[in-house]
Amino acid sequence: MAHRNVIPVGPQHPVLPEPIHFDLVTEDERVIDAIPSISYVHRGLERLVEKRDFIDFAHVADRICGLCSFMHSLGYCQAVEEIMGIEVPQRALYLRTIWAELSRIHSHIFWLGVAADAFGFESLFMQALRLREPVLDIFEETTGARVILGVCKVGGVRRDIDNDSLKGIVTRLTVLKADLEEICNVFINDYSVRHRLSGVGFISREDAYALGCLGPMARASGLAIDMRAVGYAAYRYLDVEPVVETAGDCYARCLVRIRETFHAIDLIRQAAGKTPEGPIDVKVTGAPDGEYYSRVEQPRGEVIHYVKGNGSRFLQRFRVRVPTFSNIPAMIKVLKGSEVADVPNIILSLDPCISCTER
C-alpha cells in the first residue's frame, strides 16, 4: 500500500488567486481526498444591516466583492424593490443590463488571464489583462470608478448614459472583439494549452446536478441552468441563450466562458439599440415590509439575495448565497483522482470568489 501524505494548499500560494485552503490527502502524485477550509476573509457584512439604512446598504452590497460588484448591488436593489412594489423605469432596466453585461465581460477576460497564468503561459496573461483595460475605461467614463461602480440604487440608477455614448461603447466593443478573437484562438487551438486542459477535472452531468453545481461549471457539463432566462431587468426583451458544452472538463469550461464573452458583447449591442427614452429613477418613500428572494446570474453562477424587512428603516435580515459556496462540494469531487500538479488549474477553472463566499 502506498504511503499517504497530507499536503496543505493555500491560502497563500503562488498560483492560487483566492484565500481558500485545501488539505489534500495524496498517494504518490495522485489526490485521494480534499478537505476545504474557508473563513480567512470573513467580515460579517450581514450584521451591518443593523447599523446602516436600507438605502445606504446598496453601497455596502457593492463592496462585497470587487469582480462581481455591480451584480450584488443589482440583486439587492431588485429584492428591496419587489418587496416595496416599486416600478423601475424602462431606461433604468436597460442601463442596468448594459452594466451587468460589461461586468460579465471584464470578469471573464480576467479569468482567462489568471487561468493562463496558472498553467504557466505568462505572456498570454499579460495580453488578456491588456484587453480588459478598454472595458474598465468604459466603466470610468460612464460611472466614475473602475471597479466599485456605486451606480445602482433602490428605485433606478444614479447616472445616465446618453445615446451617443451608447453608440461609442458598441463601437469600442467591436474593436475589442477583433482583438479578443486573436487571443481566444490561442486558448482554443494551441497545442500546449490543449494538453494542459483537455481531460483534466472531469465531472459528469448527473454528479454536477446532484452536488449543486452552478454557472459555467454546470453549463460545461451539459446542464442548461442560466438565471437570465427567468427574465429580470431587461433580459426578457433580449435574445438570451445559455451557452452549453458537453465535455465536462477544464477545456469545456474555458470554451463556455469564451463563448459567453462574445454573447455578452452581442447582448450589449442589442440592448443599446433598444434603450428607450425616459427617467432613470423613481422616488422612494417608506420602508420595506416583507421578504423576497432575488436571483441574479453573476459571471460565476446564480446568486441569491434574501431580504427581510419589518417596516423600519433598518432591515431585519440580509443573506447572500453566492455560487462559489455551492460549487465547493462539486470541486471536492473533481479533485479526487487528479494529479497534484493539476490542482491549481482545477481550482481556477471553477472561478472561486472567496470574498463573496464569506462576506
Binding site: H42, R47, E50, A287, Y292, R295, G311, F314, L315
Partner: protein, 144 residues
C-alpha cells in the same frame, strides 16, 4: 417582473421526508438559510427545478436540534456547518462535520439570539387609513 415566492411552513419531523420526495422529483438544493427571530431561529430550505423556486421553512428554539439532510443532498454539509457556527443551532449527523471550526470568529456565535439586535417596527401612525396596516405590524413577531 416578479417571481412567485412559494414558502411552505413544515414541521421539523416531516422535514426529511418532504426533502426526500423533492429529491426523487428531480429538484436541486439551492440554499439553506437561517434568520434570527426574537427568541427562535427560522431555517429555510430552498429548492429549484427548471426555474421553479420552492422553499420549506421550519422554526426551532435555541435548545432544539435539527436533523441533517446531507444524506440526501451531499452538498448540504457546508450550509449546515455554517448555520451551526454562526447561529449555534445544533444539527445532527452532518456528512462532513467540522465541529465548529469552519468559521473561526472572535465572538463565538455572532448571529445567535443573544448577539443580534433586531430593529423595532415603526410606531403606528394616528392616521385612519394606516390603522389596518398598523394592527398587522403590532401582531407580527418583529417586536422586541
Amino acid at each position: 417582473m416578479s417571481e412567485p415566492q412559494e414558502i411552505e411552513a413544515v414541521e421539523k419531523c416531516d422535514l426529511v421526508g418532504i426533502v426526500a420526495e423533492l429529491f426523487s422529483e428531480g429538484y436541486r438544493l439551492v440554499q439553506i438559510g437561517c434568520s434570527t427571530l426574537p427568541s427562535a431561529y427560522e431555517l429555510t430550505y430552498s429548492f429549484d427545478r427548471e426555474y421553479r423556486f420552492r422553499n420549506l421553512r421550519i422554526t426551532v428554539t435555541p435548545e432544539e436540534s435539527v436533523p441533517s439532510i446531507s444524506v440526501i443532498y451531499p452538498g448540504a454539509f457546508l450550509y449546515e456547518n455554517e448555520i451551526h457556527d454562526l447561529f449555534g443551532v445544533a444539527i445532527t449527523h452532518i456528512a462532513v462535520d467540522y465541529r465548529g471550526t469552519l468559521y473561526r470568529t472572535a465572538l463565538g456565535t455572532p448571529f445567535s439570539v443573544d448577539n443580534v439586535k433586531l430593529p423595532e417596527p415603526p410606531k403606528p401612525k394616528a392616521a385612519v387609513e394606516k390603522q389596518g396596516v398598523a394592527k398587522e405590524r403590532a401582531e407580527a413577531p418583529g417586536t422586541h
